[in-house]
Amino acid sequence: MPGKLKAKIVAGRHLPVMDRASDLTDAFVEVKFGNTTFKTDVYPKSLNPQWNSEWFKFEVDDEDLQDEPLQITVLDHDTYSANDAIGKVYIDIDPLLSSEAATVISGWFPIYDTIHGIRGEINVLVKVDLFNDLNRFRQSSCGVKFFCTTSIPRCYRAALVHGFVEELVVNEDPEYQWIDRIRTPRASNEARQRLISLMSGELQRKIGLKVLEMGGNAVVGYLQCFDLEGESGLVVRAIGTACTLDKLIPGTVLNECMCVCVCVCCCSLILSGMGSGISVGKEAGPLKTLLRQQAQSALEQREFPFFTLTCFPPGFLVHIGGVVSARSVKLLDRIHNPDEPETRDAWWEEIRQEIKSHAKALGCHAVVGYSESTTICEEVCILSASGTAAMLNPRFMREGCLDAGGSDQRLSRCGFCHIPYDEFNMPFPAQLTYCYHCRRQKVPDVLFTTIDLPAEAAVTGKGCLIQARLCRTKKKAQGEVNATAISNLLPFMEYELHTQLMNKLKLRCMNALFGLRIQISVGENMLLGLASATGVYLSALPAPGGIQIAGKTPSDLSYDQHISTMQKRINDTIVMNKELYNIHPPECIEEVVGSPIPDRQRSRLFRSTSESSDELSELDLSHGKKDAFVLEIDDTDAVEDIQSLLTDAPMPAGFYSCNTEVMPGIYNWTSGLQMFTSVRVYRLNNANLTNQGLNKIFTDLCENLLKSLYFKLRSMIPCCLCHLNFTVAVPEEELIQVRRHTPKNTSPILSIFPRNILNEEQLQFSMELCGESTSSNNQPTAKASERCSPLPEVRSRSLRSTRSLPCGAPVTVVKMTPLSFLPMTRIVKYLGIINMFFIRETTSLREEGGVSGFLHSFIAEVFAMVRAHVAALGGNAVVSYSMKECVFMENPNKNQAQCLINVSGDAVIFVRESDQEAIPPLITSGQTSTTGADGTT
């Protein structure tokens, strides 16, 4: 009852010719919301109709307003036969429901048809009048703001962080209903698009209700995912962090540096059982829990003290205890009752419990940088969750205690590195030293985390992208046998990925990983693992030792020689990398103290499996030599490791890449930004490949993808690929799919999401390019900025528009980036969340340029639709953009292909900071931290 939605159809342009005889179209429009439909008049014989309709008014509940999209259908009137559909536009009106966001949606939208793609554009005006609702038992949650951004949005201040919210809804997939056999592909696609749109609306509303119950007003780090379970249904789930946000008065720039603590690298993985939804394994090893007695009541009362944030307000984080992750293999069965999604809920509940107990084992009471994902192959589904165990400052959880952060306590640049657990009672063996920064507290030798590098962290040199890639074959199997086989393989995969990461980290002479993301995907006869992270040298941690190669069985001379050449190559690479990443840590007096394991750099992996829940397998990778990380070459795995270590091609000069938001060690960003997506699919011809052969292929694929990117972006040097996000999938037998997206700045910053496809795997990354004008002397800065800065563009545009008379107002430029900010600009307003789902299908694949042509135009169309929606909301950029899902299916024999894409992000308005003196706060803090680090170390 309490809302009135008004829509007006203004005009259309570039419509397709629907009447071959006259080469024209008699177009009219249907506007539908809920069960109400309005029609415009037919505008005869025109490809650029001017309907200029009246205001169509819908009186609806705000519950419906949240769930339903406004559906606009453009049709061609036909006197004698049925009217032909030209295409549709779905408009999510959620942004209009919040008082602070957009007030009107107005602009040109591409008219989209799932078979033909974009067919012309339509100009629409939408408004909402909301009445106040005083009903306490309401089902709607209008006004709760949603952000995809995983940090506190730039123009807000976190008054209170309430914690974890989650929800999932399930339904039958229309593609698998009986009716699908008799309806057209178009009808089926549209039913699916509409259903998913409805489900995500409902999900958002339900999460909003939970937030209101908790007393919050916003969800930050909102992450929504689809699980296309095929026969067994469709699951839409979301997690996020409930917060109470206060809007900042423009002008008051909050000191935005963040205090994050990261600690020991501990990778614990847990598998819970297979079988239809029955969990076999319980929590892993009997870790010596060592909760320090602290006032943590605020957190402990929560069921899940999880936070999807990766950047935090100052003072929020105290210490960090390392990466925690849990995986569970499940067999899917049909969702019997869509209204009771209990099975899925129970699965996730289990995993979250595991994560929670892992965090406890690390002496931490919270998990930050938390995310969940699934991978599905036939009826086997792997659920994964990962995060970073951390100790938080309880101030943020209590009412009314939050003032401008950092005033009461000096933010330390090393505090986050200090261990949260008791050094004499460590949950796993690690080597501790006194912090190299403050010399008072203990720090571990290596840190792995899933969060972004805290802005105040003292870093030496620059960071870089580190990837571990792994392929494992498995036998084809069905049902439970398959699930068992997968669960047996998983621990080994995680272990090997971890070893690879550790080796590569040492090879680059770094000691910490941020933004760690491990993706494991299942195919019919193989498993793929891809771990990406950004390596850095934290000044507070000890310098990493080198890598020693040792042959266990000293045999003939040539063998020794082989080893020594290898050793030499490794040493050379380390020296080269030190130079490349500018890592010159001051020589420190070795003062290893109080560690139970003296005199050695060790890396240990601690893991537990559900099958053997009581026995704890520890693997000590270190060999007896001092200060070195030893690889034994006798071991075939190690040979492989070494090979992969050395085959990583170095980045071309002028390029930097990372998968976090900001590139550690680079602070001179420009506002040029370019985002891109790349998808690759490879077909493996040779079915009988060994693990090693597969590994090599997979590694080559990833390397080639990166090389391609470097080549494409060579004109933007110096540039940095940020937020590089790889997704790997194994869509069908012998086909690997890798995807990446990349947003990048036209001048020095550029972010990318690439996605390429390999034998049934999918990998997604987003990167960003950052120009480094100060340090590279031979690069004429002026030239770079001239080429890329948007200012000259604007000028030429205005010149142009005076010249090109017939073409009306120029299209608004909309930037897209997976980052939560746009360098050198200030975000002045958040207009609402963008969450769109598209299906595209073709029955004339060859005519559309094959699979590449088909997907190329589809991705371009998705970009166009996202830009159009943002522009209609009055925005000029999308931040925290991500392509969550990109499922591609083809049948070349039938000349058919289908693709599903889900994208999300936050629509914003930004203004350039060029006229202001202020440098973005984050950059400032970063810079001070480096200089500080230089001074103190």
């Binding site: 998808v679 030429s796 371009a860």
Partner: protein
């Protein structure tokens, strides 16, 4: 293992100008990759042939998708599919409509019909321009012709506004349209020494002086056709050669002015009557469409060739034509001064442009 699918899409469409040129020139992906490899991009960026190939394919796909928009360039500015910075858009359009001098020389003055298009493979073999590129260029001519045909107002301005081309390129297209419309003969062997730019210049002269739009009534009609009335008036000039007194008088006036100023004076004096008859006859015949088509061949045969065989220099030519034109004003009985000036102005500048080896 084979690459099944390989796609790269940027929010701002990324294009390489070098690859664009290869695409326009009708290179296949393989050829373009080969040329790029020889060009040395690989060493520059440590890329492999595979990378280069993937990049080239991506770019080719992008250009193919853009091609539809380039057919009506005004759409490029307000379409939503590709986010292309305006300076890039200008570049894309300008390059797309740029044509090869050798190619245009082959089709200049021909009817832009299906028949001509069928013969493009011969043209391609003759000029060395790829067939694909020939087709694109031919279709461009045809498209511009079709759009402009139905429009009123100045030709160059119409082309520039509809196709968002630079002034220079718009003028060239105006010449092509003008030649195609009037079907001027340019393919005869005697005309082979003339370049497209020579003809384009002449076309410019004709358009701005001899068409309907050339005079004050700019808005009346477009300037693709020569003004009928003017062509009728040209008949009156015949008196210059039919009236014996007038011819002699004209000759003596010109000779007096030229004497001692040029080495070729004797030849000029001897040939005066022939040359004058040539020019005036061309003028008198222009009412026939057939003779309009032969305008350039007549100029060469009746005037340029005799002068060339007498070894006139360009300076001689200028001197002669100046005095030849001006002397007619002093003739008492010659009443058609306005038409004469309008005729000779264009003839003089055309001949000067065409008088080279």
């Amino acid at each position: 293992m084979s690459v099944e699918l390989d796609v790269f899409v940027g929010n701002t469409t990324i294009m390489d100008e070098e690859v664009y040129q290869f695409w326009l020139d009708g290179y296949t992906v393989n050829d373009a990759v080969k040329v790029r490899m020889e060009g040395g991009v690989l060493e520059e960026c440590e890329a492999s042939a595979e990378v280069l190939r993937s990049d080239t394919m991506d770019q080719y796909r992008t250009f193919q998708m853009c091609e539809r928009l380039l057919h009506s360039p005004a759409k490029l500015a307000n379409q939503l599919l590709f986010q292309i910075p305006p300076h890039r858009q200008t570049m894309l359009i300008e390059r797309y409509y740029t044509f090869d001098g050798v190619f245009v020389r082959e089709v200049l003055g021909k009817k832009l019909s299906k028949g001509t298009k069928k013969d493009l493979d011969d043209v391609s073999a003759k000029t060395g321009v790829t067939l694909k590129s020939c087709r694109r260029q031919f279709d461009n001519f045809k498209r511009v012709f079709k759009v402009v045909e139905e429009l009123k107002g100045p030709l160059v301005e119409n082309i520039r506004q509809h196709f968002l081309l630079s002034d220079k390129l718009a003028r060239d297209y105006a010449a092509i349209v003008f030649f195609a419309n009037n079907r001027f003969e340019t393919g005869k062997k005697k005309l082979h020494y003339l370049t497209f730019q020579d003809f384009a210049f002449c076309a410019g002269q004709l358009i701005s002086n001899w068409t309907v739009g050339a005079l004050d009534n700019m808005l009346e009609d477009m300037d693709v056709d020569l003004e009928k009335e003017f062509l009728q008036d040209l008949k009156e000039l015949k008196i210059l050669i039919t009236d014996k007194d007038l011819l002699d008088q004209h000759k003596s006036l010109v000779c007096t002015a030229l004497r001692g100023k040029t080495k070729a004076f004797n030849e000029m004096e001897a040939n005066f009557k022939n040359l004058s008859r040539g020019l005036v006859n061309i003028a008198a015949k222009l009412t026939n469409t057939k003779d309009v088509r032969d305008f350039f061949i007549d100029l060469v045969e009746k005037f340029i060739e005799p002068c060339r065989s007498d070894k006139w220099t360009a300076g001689d030519m200028r001197l002669y034509l100046t005095h030849y034109t001006n002397s007619a004003h002093i003739l008492d009985t010659f009443k058609h001064q306005v038409v004469w000036d309008r005729y000779m102005g264009v003839i003089k500048s055309c001949i000067l442009k065409m008088y080279h080896d």
